[in-house]
């Protein structure tokens, strides 16, 4: 945790946007790498680095599927990731006086 009690894995703009975007989907639903990249307007390299950190923390899972010659990566927010975003949101509200 940071000094103000915010989860440092989430408290980075790129990773916060990834987690918030995936959390907008119903529990258990995944999103393709390309759609996520398109929505967040990130370079593939930056997105891969951020996703790897979140996956190492257990906040999201990724699945690679192959359709012919094309490979598709789908990322899903795990229950742990959803819970971490919930705790992060509560910590933010607490810091900002319930705003």
């Amino acid at each position: 945790m940071t000094d103000d009690g915010l989860d440092p894995l989430i408290h980075v703009p790129t990773r916060l946007k990834i987690v918030a975007t995936l959390a907008a989907l119903p529990d258990g639903d995944g999103l393709s790498f390309t759609r996520l990249q398109d929505m967040l307007e990130l370079t593939p390299g930056n997105l891969i680095i951020a996703l790897r950190k979140l996956e190492e923390a257990g906040y999201l899972s990724s699945e690679k599927t192959r359709n012919g010659s094309a490979q598709k990566t789908t990322v899903t927010l795990t229950r742990q990731g959803r819970a971490a975003l919930g705790s992060y949101t509560r910590a933010l509200r607490s810091l900002l006086g319930g705003l």
């Binding site: 703009p13 946007k17 975007t21 907008a24 989907l25 639903d29 390309t34 759609r35 929505m39 705003l99």
Partner: protein, 212 residues
């Protein structure tokens, strides 16, 4: 804006401050945008459909309400109705496909669910043909076509997470049954007002959900 961690996320990674205020603003903005982009039936589409259904079916009601005896929609009404159905279907499917692109899981309809919906519409067409063969045509009771698809939609929605759409399916069944008691001309008014109310209610529910 360079240096603003909210509008320029790279700034925070380069040492700029990313405080709780910026984080809260970014979280709210991202969540709102994602919900809007993932929404297969956005409020503006539902509201537009509400206005169009009121105009299309209300127009038919205006043309048939003075008929004694009742003869059904005029030849001029039929192309308008068919056009409405085609445009409505194409817009709904097109926007749904775009909103759910890249998503896997329960947001998308499964093949079994699509089959149930197709069979429900096919059953409605068969029922209409049956009514016609029995001398009670679709033009007589236009809302009867809503009952079977409405039931199918309600059953599918009840089995999905959050039961979203259940109220819509039940409302379609209620409109279908209520129209049967409103008489031939009145059924068009029931269909117009009922479907318009259902669509506006859905638009309000989706808009409320996107705000929370």
């Amino acid at each position: 804006m360079r240096g603003d961690p909210v509008n320029d996320p790279a700034a925070a990674g380069n040492g700029a401050a990313f405080g709780p205020e910026q984080a809260a603003a970014l979280l709210e903005q991202t969540t709102r945008q994602a919900r809007r982009k993932f929404q297969p039936a956005p409020p503006w589409l539902l509201s537009t459909r509400a206005v169009l259904v009121l105009a299309a079916l209300g127009g038919v009601w205006l043309s048939v309400r003075g008929q004694h005896p009742y003869r059904g929609p005029t030849a001029a009404d039929i192309p308008v109705l068919i056009g409405f159905v085609v445009v409505n279907f194409a817009a709904t499917v097109g926007i749904r496909v775009r909103a759910t692109a890249g998503i896997t899981g329960r947001t998308r309809f499964t093949q079994a669910e699509i089959l149930v919906l197709v069979l429900a519409f096919a059953a409605a067409i068969v029922a209409m043909a049956g009514l016609g063969a029995a001398g009670v045509g679709f033009a007589t009771y236009p809302t009867s076509v809503l009952v079977i698809p409405g039931l199918a939609w309600a059953v599918l929605a009840a089995a999905r997470p959050g039961r979203r759409g259940l109220a819509t399916g039940v409302a379609l069944v209620v409109i279908g049954i209520a129209g049967a008691f409103a008489g031939p001309a009145g059924a068009w008014a029931v269909a117009a007002a009922g479907l318009c109310a259902v669509l506006l209610g859905s638009a309000a529910a989706v808009a409320r959900q996107q705000r929370t």
